[in-house]
Structure formats: C-alpha cells, structure tokens
Symmetry: C2
Subunit: 359 residues, 2 copies
C-alpha cells in the first residue's frame, strides 16, 4: 500500500476544478472542496478525497445536482427545514448550518433538518463552523443502511454520525465526532485492504452471528451499533443511530432507515422510497444565550485541563479530549502534506485525464 | 431476595406524605412522587422508591431544600438557565422542562440548562412530558463521578444519561433513555446483591485493568463508558458522557466532572467546587416547527413498523423499539403492582415509623 504525498492546496485546487467541471458555481465548488478535504486534513481518510470519484459517479448517474436551488421550505424563529434540491451534501450542509447559526444569533438557538440532500463529508466540519460565532455546533446525518439494530438480521441504519463541537477559551475546542457504531465503516475498509481480521463486536454475519471477517458486509452481514452486543449496550448505539435517522429524515421528509439511497452510484435505489434524498440535522446554540461567553470559556478550560491531567492507565500517556487527535493530524498534514494511498491517486489521475484537469 | 408487592397508588400516597413531612408543598410533593415512582413503574428499580431514603438523608444533611425558590436567571426566546435553589431534582426538573415546553410553543424549540439542583430520578419521565404537546422531548443530567474516561484511572464522569422521547401516531412513542456507560450502575448493584460476576467491558479496577468483580467500585475501580474499551469505541461513550456534563453543568454554572456532589449523604463534598449543585439539560422541539404533525406521525409509524417487523436473529422474537420494554412493564405494574425487594421495604418501614406515616 504505497502512498504519495500531496499538499493541501494542490488537492484543493484539483477538487475545486473537478466540482467546477461538473457544473458547480465557483462558490459552491470552493465550499464543497473545503468540506471534503477537511476529512483528509483531520485524518478521516475514508470520507475525504478518496470519495471524490464516488461523488462524480453520483453526478454521472444524475443523482447529484450540481446547480441546486436550495431553499427553506418551512421555518419558525428557531427552526427550519431545508430542501437541498438533490445537491451535493458538501454544498447543502454549509447552507443549512448557516441557517442554524443565523437563527441562533436571533433567538438563542437554531435547528435545521434537511431533506433531498446527499453525503456531506464529515460532520465535524459543519458543526465546528458554529464555534467561530461563540456557539456550540451540532451536526448529524443519516446514511446508507449498513448497520443491524440489536437482534436484527437486516441492515436498517447507516453509521449515522453525531458531532458536537464546543468552544473553549485558551484550550482548543472540544470536538466529538462519532459514528453510532462500534467502528466506522472506514476502519473496516482498512482491514479489508490489509486482509486483517476485525475484533469481535464490530460486525455480524448474515445470520446475525458475531464475525471477525471484514468482508462480511459483502455477503449480507452488517456493522454493529456502538456497544456491539446487547450485554454491552448495543441497544444504546442502536437508539442513538435511530435518533440521528429520525431527526435527519423523519423531521425533514428525507428517506430513512432501509430506504436511504446508497452512496455507490452503481447500486440501485430502494423501492417505495418514503422521502427525498438523504437527511441531515444541524444545531447551533449561542453560548451567551445561557451565560456570559467568558464565564463559560473559563469553566470549559478548567473542564478540559482537569480531564487532560487525569492520571492515565499505565501504558497510556494521557487522557485525551475529543478532537485532540484530529486537530494534531490537521496541523501536521497542513505542514507536511496529505498522504494518499496509491489506489486513491490512481482514481484522481483517472479523473484528471478524463476531465483534462491537472492534478 | 424476597419481594413484596405494593400498588402504585399505595406507594404514591406514602411517598407524597413523606415529601410533605420534610416540608415540600402539596404540589411539589405530588410532582416529586410521580417523577420518582415513574422509575418503579418503568422497571428502573434502582432509580425509584429504593432511593426515597437517600433523598431524605440528603434533606437531613441539609443538602436538599424542600422549599426552593426556583427561578430563571437568564433567558432568550429559545433558551433559559434555571437555578434550582438546592431543591430536589424531582421538583426542579419538572419546572425546567415546563420552561422548555413553553419556549418551544412560542418559537419552535426550547432549551434549558439547570444548576443548583439534585438527582432527578429517570430522564425519560421528564423528556416524555413534551410528547403530550406534540413535541420531541430531551432530558439529560450529570451525576456523581463513577465513570473513568478512556485511558483514565480516575473517575471523572457520572453515568450521565440521555433521553430522547419522540411521539408517533398510532404507534406508542419512541423513548430512548440511556446511561452513557456500558451498563447502568443499577445493573451493577443487582450483581453485587446476587454476588455474581459482571461481564468484561463493564468495569475496571483501580489500576484501569478490566475486571469482572462487581464490588470493584468500592476499592477505586470505575464504570466504563459505553463501548467498554478503546477498540470497541469507549472514546465515544466517554464523549457522550462529557457532552451531557458540559450541557448540564458548564452551560448552567453547576458542578461538573469530579466535582459533582455525591448522592449518598454520608460522603463528604468535593473540595473547590466550581459551581452550584448538580446540573441538568432539557430540550423541547415542536414537531410542527419542522413539518405538519400529522405527516410526521404517519412517517414515525412507518419507521417504527418497519424496524419492529425486521427479520430477527434466531433465538430472538422481535426487534424492539426503544421504550418497548419499559412501556410493557409500566402497564403490567399499574395492573399487578410493583414488587419491592425486602431491603427496600425495610427502608420504607423505617421511614414510616420515624415519621409516623402509614405505609
């Protein structure tokens, strides 16, 4: 698995040109590229530029609209439903998060449920936008069904991530971005490429029995909800994934459960879809809608410092704060570049030649 | 472990009289008793009347104010911070949830962070109140530190539960009420009483090593966050517990992390406490702030029916919807009565004699 290193700015201008090629406006192409590459910067390689070709195939299959007329279809002072008009989630999500932020500025909090969208990259990118406004940011999305609820043989939920980003003072923000499964699908993909076994508790086979075979999903198996099995709380992971699904799709009129459209463009769409596209949910809470931002940040710093200085278990250096590893990765990759697997580079070269865009 | 069966109404009038005895108003005594006994009805025996004596001991230690002047100390159209004035959480929480519901009625959603409170029973009781108003209800609370974050030897978080209650149409509501640990402390207490081993993944010893000894918490051990270990996502359970702590206490000015006051009145208070009492967080979202309630309920019913009819793993009858077991328990116990352990009945008899209140 040889790697090649690219600078962030080189990948950004390539991605931007690709999105412009398929018809995105300059502004949308830039916005989508930043959202997509934030995954590579933060080390969530499965959700970044490795998926660019996948997004393009969705466009080729006419399942992603490069010029969406995104609009608010219903609203109150603190809420809105946004219809993404089949646009790239990478474009629809920033629009919707901005609506949440504006509502929070006006009445304290803003909550936006989104239908008719598509995959939006990593949740953290969208949630963290609120932090620049001294707000707590929340982002979640449903996704193609890969996860079996507790006691289910069938796959009915996506890995349905939740991100909560909380600003601090001198300390960096607290950013928890978590798939509601034991392990994100990206981790399974790494094991598949390396042909290594998965730990028990990550996946089940087509009969619902525990399995360590990372290829199980290709033959009817499923990812397991956070907790792994009932005895270890998988019903809680299932409930969390379900909450994400309902907030993102049942509130907005998107597709939910087993009807969420698959990301791979070659897979056929589910029958009898109850809604439009994929759903997301965003929240923004102004800190000073609760207490003065300075007070809050002082206590957030104290919270973070206390947890970070807790006595670690032998063999571990330190207790981490959610977001620590991704932030460190981001500064490293901004400086030293982003390593891409050979197979990903080949995909990009293919796009480069096809569209005549220099990589 | 012999049991004795009591009718709900017998326990309700006893509990109400006890709360009145310590100085609660008639209204507060009723409100607190309903909140407390909802745990017994729903089968969360660890959080119900078994704790009545514990609440009374808090009052005796002057750590629970029977006549609190609960008030809103800060607010915007969609938010408020409530100071519980050291009252019983069983009284403060219903007040705060009502504030959230009123704000949601006015501007679409309402979000209330609470300081200077005390233990509030089960989160589900408070969240479900919103459902009567065609709103989604959310309730969470921090609690005494029993949980070690991933890689930590120290206990820095409570079991910090989250409840999300979502109304449906013909189907009963979706009610997910989950401690952000692998197993709730109540489950550990059951193993302690029976002297049975705990599964791996529930607890660690005082060095941070995995343990199956349910008594480990008495000698410096800790409960583990949902996920159990890093490989199975314990950093996600830790992050969820942390979010509950921050929303409940850093936003409101309550105590957080290791400074949350312990429930047992005989335990000394932490030093250098950074806030007031225990913190909670409540949310209410009006369904029709997103889409017509009838549409939402139709799709919620379809969601629930699809999940409930999923093909189950062999050996299991059915895929459950969050809230199913507790709702079934409630109707059974309303009809047949609530079984109480002998040790709990003894506690109640002790209170009965001490205060001269007929059990």
């Amino acid at each position: 698995m040889s790697e090649e290193i690219f600078s962030y700015h080189r990948l950004l201008s390539f991605t931007r040109a690709v999105f412009e090629y398929i018809g995105c406006s300059d502004e949308d192409a830039m916005s989508a590229s930043k959202a997509l590459l934030s995954a590579d910067l933060r080390g969530i390689d499965s959700h970044g530029i490795a998926r660019l070709n996948g997004y393009i195939r969705l466009w080729e299959a006419k399942r992603a609209n490069p010029k969406p007329a995104i609009k608010i279809v219903h609203e109150t002072p603190s809420t809105a439903v946004v219809d993404g008009d089949g646009g790239l989630g990478l474009v629809v999500a920033p629009y919707a998060m901005d609506v949440a932020i504006k509502k929070a500025a006006a009445v304290g909090t803003g909550w936006v449920s989104v239908c008719n969208s598509n995959h939006f990259g990593i949740a953290a990118y969208h949630a963290m936008k609120a932090n620049y406004h001294d707000m707590i940011g929340i982002a979640m999305t449903n996704a193609s069904p890969l996860v079996a609820p507790t006691f289910s043989v069938e796959r009915l939920l996506g890995t349905n991530p939740i991100c909560v980003a909380i600003p601090a003072g001198d300390e960096p923000a607290f950013v928890a971005d978590l798939a509601t499964t034991t392990a994100a699908n990206g981790k399974l993909e790494i094991l598949q490429r390396k042909n290594q076994q998965a730990p028990l508790g990550w996946i089940q086979d087509k009969y619902g029995a525990e399995s360590t075979n990372p290829h199980e999903l290709k033959s009817g198996g499923a990812l397991l909800p956070l907790g792994g099995d009932r005895e270890h709380g998988s019903h809680k992971g299932y409930a969390l994934g379900a909450i994400v699904d309902i907030f993102s799709a049942v509130l907005s009129g998107a597709n939910y459960g087993p009807w969420v459209p698959p990301f791979p463009a070659f897979m056929s769409m589910p029958e009898n879809m109850p809604g439009k596209g994929i759903g997301h949910f965003f929240g923004a809470m102004r800190i000073d809608a609760f207490r003065p931002a300075e007070d809050f940040k002082l206590h957030m710093d104290q919270w973070i410092q206390r947890f970070r200085s807790a006595q670690p278990v032998e063999g571990h250096e330190q207790v981490l704060i959610p977001g620590d590893p991704e932030r460190e990765m981001e500064s490293e990759r901004l400086e030293r570049g982003i390593p891409l697997l050979h197979s990903v580079v080949e995909d990009l070269r293919f796009l480069s030649e096809k569209f005549g865009i220099e990589l």
